[in-house]
């Protein structure tokens, strides 16, 4: 271990001290300017006129409603994408079938397509100009400019997060252990619970966290389909925008600070999961 540094590189190949410190310096400066500074600004702006104004803004009815809606949409997105993610990852790694490549590619579509387009897709599919709109109306189902539309849009944009985390782990595991269990008489669900799930647990939780984070922060797709009805179809990010456009800066930053705190919470959860997952 003497001549070889921890990362496995020989000391000579790492360049001089000058290079090292300037690289680290640039990275730190960048992170500070692009991340820390804005975050501090959000928090200080939020508390600019004291805690009373802050708590009033946060405890505002519309804000509470927005928080609840955001949590609701995130919950559904995580729940549905969990089921879908498990199914997709499982079938892509354990089965051979026609169209497998296409499925694998399509799963990634939501990350490559602009969220605005995603919103528009749902607007066109379920909105007034859509051929199925009369059917929905007869059945008294409202999707566009209503909560279901927001949930749908959120699901769409967070679609690949869980399956993408699961696929590499499932792939690396192979099918031997499951076959061994099946040979001893274990049934499908037992095999999943006892053999597969322990293996994918941390990757799965990591996917859930990423999915939740993305769901809470989603703006574009939701913005298109929500109709911005305050107290009805306003999620937290949309609420921030509305407040900001109305020049209510302090409340805007106060609500934004909630999102920041959620993000930090998720970051912590993520680190814990990553740490635990690595230990295994």
């Amino acid at each position: 271990m003497s001549a070889v540094t921890q990362s496995g590189l020989h000391r000579d190949t790492k360049g001089s001290k000058l290079v090292r410190y300037s690289l680290i310096g640039i990275s730190l400066l960048f992170v500070f300017l692009m991340l820390i500074l804005p975050l501090i600004t959000v928090i200080t702006e939020a508390f600019k006129q004291g805690f009373a104004v802050y708590s009033k803004a946060v405890a505002d009815d519309y804000t509470i409603k927005a928080i609840l809606l955001t949590l609701e949409a995130s919950f559904f997105a995580v729940a549905i994408n969990t089921v879908f993610g498990l199914c997709a990852a499982w079938s892509l790694t354990k089965f051979k079938f026609k169209g497998k490549k296409i499925l694998a590619t399509l799963i990634d579509l939501p990350v490559t397509v602009s969220p605005i387009i995603a919103g528009l897709i749902f607007l066109l599919t379920f909105g007034r100009q859509s051929p199925i709109f009369p059917l929905l109306q007869d059945a008294d189902i409202k999707i566009v400019f209503a909560v279901p539309g927001i949930v749908l849009a959120t699901i769409f944009v967070t679609f690949p997060f869980i399956s993408r985390e699961l696929i590499p782990v499932l792939e690396s595991q192979g099918t031997d252990e499951e076959e061994a269990a099946a040979l001893m008489g274990a049934k499908g669900f037992t095999i999943f619970r006892r053999i597969t799930f322990p293996h994918i647990k941390w990757a799965f939780l990591y996917g859930v966290v990423l999915c939740a984070a993305r769901a809470m922060g989603e703006f574009g797709a939701v913005s298109v389909i929500s109709g911005h009805l305050r107290g009805k179809t306003n999620t937290l990010p949309l609420h921030v925008e509305i407040l900001f456009n109305e020049f209510q800066y302090v409340p805007a930053f106060a609500v934004a600070s909630i999102l920041v705190m959620l993000a930090i919470l998720i970051l912590v959860a993520r680190s814990v999961i990553e740490h635990k997952g690595r230990k295994k």
Binding site: D176, E177, E179, A182, L183, M184, A186, R194
Partner: protein, 352 residues
């Protein structure tokens, strides 16, 4: 016959992995399934276990056709090539898994697991995880796990492949002893001919999805029936035209001549040799040290043959002209192999 395969065919896409496989296995025997990589050994094992379905043909165990019996109901123990131990379970839970699935009472499970771990020499390691075991220990856990539900048939896919040479040697004799002691009919896959010869009661030789030959290790080694089997064992020198080797009968439509190192005797010009007069002239091209002695490569009649000598014989150098006597060779015609003896062996010996 305890296990019987009748006219089994199996395709993967257009690739024929099993081609009319027909073979029978006696109860209590330890069978080696031997063949080169990709010859369909694992496929045969997986079909017997029920992890793969044949396209056609019958699999019979103990007189019953089991093609439609699900894998879990066949009462077969399977040791995977990679062991496939449950990595998130302890050694104890690994071995206990099949018993728990079968809903055996807890104390019975405990007793059986301890009995098995003692049998494989792993008592005291119950609480370890597979990642905390050596290769040989993992192999033993896999073996114990496969045996736990008392299978009537044990299938082992390359059980020693992932273990280093020294331990492998020990485990081979250990496994052979263990299986004999338990009396469970077993089939193990290997592509290592020494391993098959050493461990198996009977060897089934596979090649390109077909069964080439079945017999005792001695039988398949010394009396190969097919061109493939003849060329598979030993360290054969294979060449086309053997007409220059005058002391051998010429067969019609002969394709290849196969000479194993033990068929060749190389002597120095001044050494005494019984069949000196009918020896061929050769030139040594390579002399290699091996653990057991010296391996030579000698050019005779334009053909490069491999031969062996022991350390206590006089030294031979590269470039040296030597006498080469070939006792016998296999000659292939199409798919069959015939053993030819040097005619001098039948003639009265003239000692000079």
């Amino acid at each position: 016959m305890y296990v019987e395969l009748k006219h089994i065919n199996k395709h993967f896409g257009n690739f024929k992995a099993s081609d009319d496989v027909t073979v029978g296995i006696e109860k209590g025997k330890l069978i080696g399934l031997l063949g080169p990589s990709g010859s369909g050994k694992t496929t045969i094992l997986r079909m017997i276990a029920g992890l793969e379905n044949p396209d056609s043909g019958e699999i019979i165990i103990d007189g019953k056709v089991i093609n439609n019996v699900p894998a879990s109901k066949r009462g077969i123990g399977f040791v995977f090539q990679s062991y496939a131990l449950f990595r998130y379970m302890t050694v104890f839970d690994n071995v206990a898994f099949g018993l728990k699935i079968a809903k055996k009472p807890a104390n019975e499970i405990k007793e059986r697991v301890h009995e098995l771990l003692e049998l494989v020499g792993l008592s005291g390691l119950e609480k370890r995880y597979p990642s905390e075991l050596s290769g040989g220990q993992r192999q033993r856990v896999a073996f114990a796990r496969a045996l736990a539900p008392n299978p009537q048939l044990l299938l082992l896919d390359e059980p020693f492949a992932a273990i280093d040479a020294k331990v492998r040697q020990e485990l081979r004799s250990w496994l052979k002893g263990m299986i004999q002691k338990l009396g469970v009919t077993s089939i193990f896959v290997t592509h290592d001919q020494d391993e098959a010869i050493e461990v198996a009661d009977e060897i089934i030789i596979t090649n390109r999805g077909r069964i080439e030959q079945v017999g005792s290790p001695y039988e398949v080694y010394s009396n190969p029936k097919t061109a493939f089997t003849a060329s598979f064992f030993g360290q054969p020198s294979i060449f086309k035209d053997y007409s220059n080797f005058r002391r051998f009968d010429i067969l019609e439509n002969a394709e290849n001549a196969i000479v194993r190192p033990e068929f060749v005797k190389v002597t120095k010009k001044n050494e005494v040799q019984k069949y000196k007069s009918s020896a061929e002239e050769g030139v040594v091209e390579e002399v290699d040290f091996r653990g057991y002695g010296i391996e030579l490569r000698v050019r005779v009649n334009g053909v490069l043959l491999t031969a062996r000598r022991s350390f206590d014989q006089p030294r031979i150098d590269v470039g040296e002209a030597v006498d080469v006597f070939i006792y016998r060779m296999f000659v292939t015609q199409g798919d069959t192999a015939t053993l030819l003896e040097n005619k001098s062996l039948r003639e009265p010996v003239v000692v000079i």
